[in-house]
Each structure stands twice: as structure tokens, then as C-alpha cells.
Amino acid sequence: MNEDRFLLRAGAWSGLAYLLVFGTGWLVLAHFFPPIEPSADAAAVAERYREHHLTLMLAAVCIMVSTVAALPVSALLVRIVALIERGAGMLTLMMGFTLATFLVLNFYSGFSFATAAFRSDRAPDLVQYANDWGFLQFMGGIPMFLMAWVLLAYAVLVTDSREDPVLPRWVGYANLWIAVLYLPELLVFFFDDGVFAWDGLIGFWIPAILFIAFFLASPFVLRPVVRRHFLA
């Protein structure tokens, strides 16, 4: 195959780009760190969207656009799994599907915040409803992307050769650990207050920090693989 060196390098680095664009929206513009409290009443939520209408809309656009940056790194992860699997088998296809749904989820979280900001002067209940969509989707949407980490762990720990591994084995175990920590995020549907809620320690802070750490670390793990297996 004639490898596109530029796109492969983009794949190695774009996790960082994704984090930057997404973070600009979520953190810098929207100040969703911590998120809007799930227990906040409709009037308070609507007030926040009215007061910060433009910045919240810009934040929503950043989150939607970050999907573009996540595309190359997603493709590279699928390629790596295919390399480990020596062809496009079950693992590769499952990885592709779960990453595709993750991209959709990522876009629609931003889209929901945009919907909340679009007519922020309408009935507060409706603004709160759209805001709920955004947070519940992004935090509670783990069935759509949890498998990305589990499958990568499976590829590294079970499928990859031990003698000459494509990815180091610690990557596999670290991914399994991340998957374990994401699992309690499903609890955001059951709590609007406390540690499991979407602004709580276990519902938000731990997964958020891991999410950032994963994409920050991704170039350092992916670059050597690209150099050794795709550009050699």
C-alpha cells in the first residue's frame, strides 16, 4: 500500500488536536469544569445560557468541530488493531464501529449544547432539557465508546505477539483500567447530586482527568508505532 505519510503523522498527533479543540470549547469557553450542576433548576440553567449566549454557542461549535480532529486518530487506532490482527477481522471491525459511534456521540453532545443556546430566551424547561441532553449524552454515552478501550486492551493483551509486540503491554492494562473507571459514568442517569452525578467525583472528575490523560499521552504511544510499522 502507498502510505500517506502526512495523514499517518496526523493520526499520531490528532488526539492532541482533538483535546485542544474540545478543551477550548468545554473548558475555556463554556467553563464546564465543573459542569452545570445536574440539580440546578430550569431557571438557573436558562439564565446561564441567556447570560453567556455567545460563548456557550462558540463552545458548542468547538465541541462539534473537535469531531474532525478525532477522525485521524480514530483511523490510526483501527489501522493498528488491523496490524495486530493481521487483517480486518472481528476486532478491527468492532473497533471501527465503536469509534464511529464515538465520533457521532462527540458531535451530538456539542449539538445539544448548541440547541440549548440557540433560543436561550425560550421557556427555561426547554433550555434545561437540551442542556440535559448534552451532559447525559457525553457522560452517559459510554456504551458507545467504552469498547474502544476494551478492544484496544484485547488486541494488545490477547491478540498481539508477546515476542515482538506492536504496542507495549502496559498500554493494554492501562486501557483496561480506564475502561473500569469509565463504567460508573452510567450512574449519571440515576443521580442528580453527589459523587455519582455528572458533576461528581466518580461521575465527572475521575473520568474527565483520564480522558485528558489518554489523549495527552496518545502521541507518545502512537508516534513510535507509526514510525516503525507504517513509515518504515
Binding site: 507495549p168 492494562y173 473500569v180 453527589g194 459523587v195 455519582f196 467525583l201 475521575i206
Partner: protein, 188 residues
């Protein structure tokens, strides 16, 4: 002989990298335990009330089931090291039976609480024992892999000591986490 002695002394059970997951998981549960401790500290009365509603006998039974399972896993590993694959497989299967017993007891316990209004204590109880139960199920998969690999040892490929150690370490982790959870939820 001397080399063996040196290797033995520096022996880490399972793959070294496995301990990222084990210690990482322990760290997460330490946070969970901290949350429970905080809850106990800030709402002592409602915590005690909630505790009184738990079936301590069933919790104790589950503790014994997991401890027995861990002992069986440890002895199965010893058998496997000696090449006694049939006995090793038997040990893993018995440990699986203990694990399934744990799941069944937990189901009885949950059914007993069904219909009760879920207060703060009970929601913590459900969440933490639920997350632990997910660990038990994953541990059962590990034990099933160990049993199967021991069963195939004669016909196919002997499982490596490292693999069996790693699978066992995970089961002991599940056991250890439960013991702390049992003390914090039912006894403390």
C-alpha cells in the same frame, strides 16, 4: 540452582504490567472507600440506620465463599506448577462454583431490598456492591480461562505459569476488595 533462587526472590506474580491494572483498581476502590468513610463521618445516624437494614449473615456467607474461592485458586496454582493439570482444573472449577454462589447470594440480597425506598446509604450500597459484582463476573471469566487452559494442557498447549498467576491475582483482588467493602458496609 543458584539462578533459580535469584529469579524466585525477585518474582512478581503475573506480568509486571498487570499490576498497573491491579494497583490502579485498588486506587479507585480506595476512593470509593473514602467516599463511604466520609458518608459515615458526616451522616452517622442515617449510616447506622442503613447498616441495620443489611443482611449481615448473607454478607458474611459471601465473605466466606470468596475466601474459600481464593484458597482454591491458590492451591490450584500449586497443582498446576507441579503439572497436575486435572487437579488444577478441578480447583479452578470449585472456585468458580464459589464465585457463582457469591452471585446467587447477592441476587437474594438485592431481591430482599427490592421495593424498599432507596435512601443515600442504600444507593451507595447498590453502587459499590454493583461495581464489585461486575468485578466478580470478570473474575469468573478469568477463572474459566484458567480452568479451560488447564483442561487443554494435555492435548494442546500448557498454560504459562505467568498467565495462571495473573488470572489468580485478579481473583484475589476481587476477594480483597470485598473484604474491605464488607467491613465498611456491614460492620463498621
Amino acid at each position: 540452582m543458584t539462578t533459580t533462587a535469584v529469579v524466585r526472590r525477585r518474582h512478581v506474580p503475573g506480568e509486571a504490567e498487570l499490576w498497573i491494572l491491579v494497583l490502579g483498581d485498588l486506587a479507585v476502590f480506595t476512593v470509593f472507600f473514602g467516599v463511604l468513610g466520609w458518608q459515615h463521618h458526616t451522616h452517622p445516624a442515617s449510616y447506622a440506620d442503613g447498616q441495620a437494614g443489611l443482611a449481615t449473615g448473607l454478607g458474611l456467607l459471601n465473605t466466606l465463599l470468596l475466601l474459600t474461592g481464593s484458597a482454591l485458586v491458590a492451591s490450584a496454582l500449586t497443582r498446576a506448577r507441579a503439572g497436575h493439570w486435572v487437579a488444577a482444573r478441578g480447583g479452578y472449577l470449585l472456585a468458580i462454583a464459589c464465585g457463582l454462589g457469591f452471585v446467587a447470594v447477592k441476587a437474594v440480597e438485592y431481591a430482599g431490598h427490592a421495593g424498599e425506598p432507596v435512601d443515600e446509604f442504600l444507593s451507595y450500597y447498590y453502587v459499590f456492591t454493583g461495581i464489585h459484582l461486575a468485578h466478580v463476573l470478570a473474575g469468573l471469566v478469568c477463572l474459566a480461562v484458567a480452568a479451560r487452559r488447564c483442561g487443554l494442557a494435555a492435548r494442546w498447549d500448557e498454560p504459562s505459569e505467568r498467565l495462571l498467576e495473573g488470572l489468580g491475582v485478579y481473583w484475589h483482588l476481587v476477594d480483597l476488595l470485598w473484604i474491605v467493602l464488607f467491613v465498611l458496609l456491614y460492620l463498621a
